[in-house]
Symmetry: C2
Subunit: 76 residues, 2 copies
């Protein structure tokens, strides 16, 4: 089975990577890009029967820094 974890910086946390992308898009002539936030997505291939709770624990312990990042888990 598969799970997908999306980790984003929390609102209010400065995102220099996203800012760099925004500037670069502007330089390339893409107008109207008002904001960019960059995060990471982790696709897990798991043994059958792994619960969403287990994936949440993975996030809390390793995948996300919960001080500055929020995460979302999608199973399936």
């Amino acid at each position: 089975m598969k799970a997908r974890v999306t980790v984003m910086l929390k609102n209010g946390v400065l995102d220099p990577q996203g800012e760099a992308v925004r500037h670069a898009l502007g330089s390339l002539g893409f107008d109207g890009v008002e904001g960019v936030r960059q995060g990471k997505v982790i696709e897990l291939e798991l043994a059958p029967g792994t619960t969403e709770d287990t994936v949440v624990q993975m996030c809390e312990k390793l995948l996300a820094n919960t001080v500055i990042e929020s995460y979302r888990v999608e199973m399936g």
Copy 2:
């Protein structure tokens, strides 16, 4: 309006970051993690009326390295 771009390494392209996560999860006692692929997600805040075509162009020109990465665009 918002758009979300997900960029993943193509199948067959070595993903050392994902491998590192897989090993770390094993070390933490999470059994049954058979594979991990790590990618990036870019959330764009766009001027109203921006089309999906424009976002695809952003991907082709900047957001993804299409030699080794595939991307998916979700509008809304």
